[in-house]
Symmetry: C2
Subunit: 207 residues, 2 copies
DNA sequence: AGGTATCCATACGCTTTTGCATGTAAAACG
DNA sequence: CGTTTTACATGCAAAAGCGTATGGATACCT
């Protein structure tokens, strides 16, 4: 086979990752062979082993194309007024997260990570999920603590509890949606649910 | 090998299922061979192929040992007074569900179904999860509708929304706990969160 | 322009796992 | 008590998938 230009090589690498996503979603990670991925991209296993060390390495590369830490979502809002309205910051960050998730690549990769792969070699999807949850839950706690100090939170709801409630709500919604994304839009449903939940926990204006 | 009595044969069948649970939890479903399961139960593959048609059949048998539909949890309460207190019925049913889930076998099998298996042959764990969610969410909706009619629900929260909020909350908590059950007790945390959430949605006694 | 590194296809050996076929000793049955 | 069926263990053939070694044509560099 003839050597390709650098741009072409990079393109085949992306094509392999795209093919891997589709096959992983369709047949699960463990049940798809490198041969299947290569064929689906119009290549052979040789291409795969050139660009990636093995299946775990390919999997890692696939994950690295999508990353969205909660903190970044808040900072991306970039509105100095939000420091004084932590509940609003939480709401907008959630909405921003929902927007990201509706992009096909983000949705696919997260669906793979959560629903279509088991532990294999050095990849532990549960540990990765724990990291994601840990990170976003920590950020939520900070904002709810801030809200409590400002008196924006109902005084019978400690900030820790508020963070846990919202965290579980988001997690449940996330899983439900990934399981069958065509049934509803996580952007619309998520916006509704988060708004409702926050309004339940917000201090009534009278006090 | 000598033939065993019928009771002994049934015992080895259970032993094989137990071994399968442990190996599936530890290494994932796809990565454990029938040989590993048999050896871990002190048997050979011959025993496995005698009791089960193949891996999918064994998997199905494993699932069939644990079943807990939401409706049964409510009926098991068997308290005629609860018909007049739907929110309390929901709370107690959730608590009862948490109790079931803390039993090792229930926890293990659900963890396998949700976190340690992909699609394989005719088994589709996502479809099973959808059934479970659909079933429990439907029951929740009924009870919240009942609560709304009785005026037990805040009038700014439609019963559908209340059901979705609680459903997502339960789902998120469930996934978090299964991911690492040693970190907290789903019975304690679940009781706390459900109580808090229901109290947020309950109509204030003044009205 | 020549040499070299790159990008990928092809081929080979190896391990793992599956499904079945066969063997067998004791339980179950009449 | 003899026969049949049960409840496995053992052995074998086949396929699948992985990792690597090799080959080859061309882009890239100096």
């Amino acid at each position: 086979m003839a050597r390709k230009t650098k741009a072409e090589a990079a393109a085949t690498r992306e094509a392999l990752l795209d093919a891997a996503e589709e096959m992983f979603i369709q047949h699960g990670v463990a049940r798809t062979s490198l041969e299947q991925i290569a064929r689906h991209a119009g290549m052979t296993r040789g291409a795969v082993y050139w660009h990636f060390k093995n299946k775990a390495d390919l999997f890692h590369a696939m994950l690295q194309r999508v990353r969205l830490p909660f903190q970044d979502l808040v900072e991306a809002l970039d509105d100095p007024e939000l420091a004084k309205k932590p509940l609003e910051a939480i709401r907008l960050a959630c909405i921003s997260g929902f927007e990201h998730l509706e992009r096909p690549r983000y949705r696919r990769v997260h669906a793979i990570l959560i629903h279509h792969c088991e532990v294999f070699s050095d990849i532990d999807p549960l540990a990765m999920q724990n990291e994601m949850v840990e990170e976003s839950c920590g950020a939520l706690r900070d904002y709810f603590h801030c809200a409590a100090r400002l008196g924006h939170l109902r005084d019978d709801i400690p900030p820790e509890l508020a963070a846990q409630l919202l965290q579980s709500l988001l997690g449940g919604l996330f899983h439900d949606w990934l399981r069958n994304y065509e049934r509803f839009s996580i952007y619309e449903e998520g916006t509704r649910l988060v708004k409702a939940q926050l309004s339940l926990m917000r201090a009534s204006p009278s006090e």
